[in-house]
Structure formats: structure tokens, C-alpha cells
């Protein structure tokens, strides 16, 4: 049997790129203004227990993905009903990410290109990658991760002349409330979306610890996220960061060193496209896996094309304009995603633990 495998390093890179995807460019926690970096730290702290739950689920059922787990834990009928939730959620999430990309190109990078075009091409690339399998995604992330990190590092070096530490000054002026709120936003927007990796990490090589992979990805992302949020605030100031739709892009476009090094915001657009690609591919993979498991198909590859097209079209019809998108992403999404990210995994874990203790469930090899 030629099962696809990704190594633990590739898993960490994939996880990190997935978390960076799209939301870092829309700005982490714009509502917290100049305290967004504290909110990023708090969001990471909030994510620690929930990530433990995901990793625990994966380590209990080694080599199985989330749809197998649902089937084992809830039985055949109820498992399939719950599986519907985990088919809809990645489909919607992938559509949201594709729409982010479309709005980005439509508003900032290429205003005269119709929005459907970049979205359609992103869909095509993702379909191609998912057709090739999760192993290819792992290798892609291994190549892309250094590119993203190097671009971030170089732009950080170049913005040093523009740093203004006075922008940080009223620390927690509005009290702790807005910061906790923004921390929850960060928790639900990039961090707890890693629930989708319950479907991907069944391909992880068996000798590595799943906890280690999950937590390394989380901490790398937390370092990058806090650094970039801090950089945004130091260069632009909290008020501008909370108003602009794509703060990272605006920030890097300010770089002008000796009239020579300027207009390097394209590098940021590159990282945006790379990380979006990884995120959309993971979402598409999980959706296709779910549909194929739901209907008992031979191979998930036979439906990738249509699911990808469905995702792109859903992204196209989803919102009327960018204000809708921003409103949904920052006001509604955190509560909408809560059942998928927290409530269902906790229920699954509790029932699984009870049934394993009662000896009703064969889990295979355990640590």
C-alpha cells in the first residue's frame, strides 16, 4: 500500500504557512489598535489548550483522519451527520481565503483586473496541487517557508529607519476588555483553524510526536505574528492599522531608501499569494476527503476539480463588496467558527475518552 507521507518538518512548515495565510495581511486584531501585539500574545495563550485537544485526538487515533474518527466515535449515521459540518467548514473557509485574495488584487495590487480572474487561477493551482496529493503540499511548504521568512526578514531590516516607538505609547488605554476581545479574534481566525489539520496529519510519519509538530507550528507563527504586528504598529501607528484593509502592504510600500530601494510591496504580495495557496489547498483537500469519505468513494481525486470550482464560485458570490467581507471576517466569523473549532472537538474528545476507557473502541497503537 503506497500511503502518502509527510515528514514532521514539512508538517510544521505546512502548519505555519497555513496560519500565516491571508489573515496576517489583513492585520491581526485591528480593533485593538496599538495594543494588537498584546492581543496576539493573548490569542496564542488561548490557543494552547485547544491545540492540545486537537493533538490529543490525533494521537489517540493514529493514522486516521477526522472523518474516520467521527465514524468511530459517533457511529455510522451520527458520524456522517457531524461530518457534514466538517465538509462545509473548510469549503467556506477556503472560499473566504480565495475571496481575500480576490479583494486584495481588486483593491490594491491590480485594480483593473476583474476579480474572478485571480480567484480562478488560485483555484486552478490549488486543484492541481490537491490532485497531486498531500505529499506535494508538504514539499511545497518546505520550499515556500524559507522564501516567506526571508522576505519578512528583509522587509523588517528595511523598515528600521521608519520605526517610531511613540506609536506604542498609550498601552492598554481602553483597559483589558478590547484586548481580550481581539485576542479571541486571533484565536479563531488563524490559530484554531488548525482543526482542519485533523484531516491532513493522518499522513504524518508515525514515529514523530504530534504534539511537537502542532506546538512548534504554533510558536513559529506566534513569533512571526507578534513581530509583524509590532512592526505594523511601529511604522504606521495604531489608528492607521485599524483603518487600512491590508496594513502590511501599506507599510512596506512606504519603504524608500535612497530613492533606490522602493516599491518592494510586490514582495509582500508574493508571500500573500504563497500562503494563500497553501491555505486554499489544505481546505480543498479536507473538503474533498470529507466528501469522498461521506459517499464512500474510491479516491478523493475524482471530485477535486468540481469541488475546487465550487469553492471559487462560492467565493465569488459570497459577499457583495469588501466592507461585507471585513465585517464578516472580524465581527461574525469568530462566533460562527466556534462550534467547528471548539465545541465539536471537545465533544468528540470527551466521548472518545469515555468509550476508550470503557473498552468499546479499538484505537490501534498508542504512545
Amino acid at each position: 500500500m503506497n500511503k502518502e507521507m509527510i515528514t514532521s518538518k514539512q508538517g510544521v512548515y505546512l502548519l505555519t504557512l497555513f496560519m500565516i495565510g491571508s489573515n496576517l495581511f489583513m492585520g491581526l486584531a485591528p480593533a485593538a489598535k496599538s495594543n494588537a501585539w498584546i492581543a496576539a500574545l493573548i490569542g496564542t495563550l488561548m490557543a494552547l489548550p485547544i491545540i492540545f485537544i486537537y493533538a490529543r485526538l490525533l494521537s489517540l487515533f493514529k493514522g486516521r483522519d477526522i472523518f474516520d474518527i467521527l465514524n468511530l466515535v459517533f457511529g455510522n449515521v451520527l458520524g456522517k451527520i457531524v461530518a457534514l459540518a466538517y465538509i462545509w467548514y473548510p469549503l467556506h473557509l477556503g472560499a473566504m481565503v480565495i475571496r481575500d485574495l480576490g479583494e486584495f488584487f481588486n483593491t490594491v495590487a491590480m485594480p483593473e483586473t476583474p476579480m474572478l480572474l485571480p480567484m480562478l487561477f488560485m483555484g486552478f493551482i490549488s486543484i492541481w496541487a490537491v490532485m497531486a496529493g498531500v505529499e506535494l503540499l508538504g514539499r511545497c511548504s518546505k520550499i515556500f517557508f524559507p522564501i516567506v521568512v526571508i522576505i519578512m526578514f528583509i522587509t523588517t531590516l528595511l523598515v528600521i529607519p521608519y520605526l517610531n516607538f511613540a506609536h506604542l505609547k498609550p498601552v492598554m488605554y481602553d483597559g483589558i476588555g478590547p484586548i481580550l476581545n481581539s485576542g479571541f479574534d486571533i484565536f479563531s481566525f488563524p490559530l484554531a483553524e488548525t482543526v482542519l489539520f485533523l484531516g491532513v496529519f493522518s499522513a504524518l510519519k508515525t514515529e514523530t510526536s504530534i504534539y511537537r509538530v502542532y506546538y512548534s507550528g504554533l510558536f513559529i507563527f506566534a513569533a512571526i505574528g507578534v513581530l509583524l504586528t509590532l512592526r505594523n504598529i511601529l511604522v504606521l501607528g495604531g489608528d492607521i492599522v485599524s483603518v487600512v484593509n491590508f496594513p502590511l502592504y501599506v507599510e512596506v510600500s512606504r519603504i524608500n531608501i535612497g530613492e533606490f530601494i522602493q516599491r518592494i510591496e510586490v514582495s509582500v504580495a508574493t508571500t500573500f499569494v504563497i500562503t494563500d495557496f497553501i491555505k486554499v489547498s489544505v481546505c480543498l483537500y479536507v473538503t474533498c476527503l470529507g466528501i469522498s469519505k461521506l459517499f464512500g468513494l474510491k479516491n478523493y481525486r475524482s471530485i477535486v476539480v468540481q469541488t475546487g470550482l465550487l469553492m471559487v464560485l462560492l467565493a465569488y458570490i459570497m459577499y457583495e463588496n469588501i466592507m461585507d467581507m471585513i465585517y464578516f471576517a472580524f465581527e461574525i466569523y469568530a462566533y460562527y467558527a466556534l462550534p467547528f473549532q471548539v465545541i465539536l472537538p471537545v465533544i468528540i474528545l470527551v466521548i472518545a475518552e469515555i468509550r476508550i476507557r470503557a473498552g468499546q473502541l479499538q484505537t490501534g497503537k498508542r504512545y
Partner: protein, 69 residues
Amino acid sequence: MVVLVIFSYALIIYLDLIPLYRKKLWRDFGVNMALTLLTFAIAFLISLDVAVPSPVYPIKNLIISILGK
């Protein structure tokens, strides 16, 4: 636009759906067929400039009604 959509769907069906039929994978063929019809309907409506209702607005209204914002 409409012609473009029909032409590209003919190509997709030829490349994606017909091989499943030849291999006699009936379940895969059925699911793929259903998805193809769904996406074709949406793409066709978009190309005719019909405003397809977004599934996001009911979700938004539901959550607003729960939270009472």
C-alpha cells in the same frame, strides 16, 4: 461569457467525468455528476448576470439574532 462557460464545462466533462464513466466507478461518477451540475448552474447564472443568493447572509443573520448585536 455564456459560450465560454458552456465550452469550458464541455472540456471539463470530457477530461474529468468521462474517464470515471469508462472506469465504471459509479459512485464517483454520480457524486461528480451532481457537483458538476451544481457548479454549472452557478457558473451559468453568474455568466447571465443573475444575482445568485449568497449562503453567507443567512449565517450572518442567524448569528446576529443569537448574539443580539
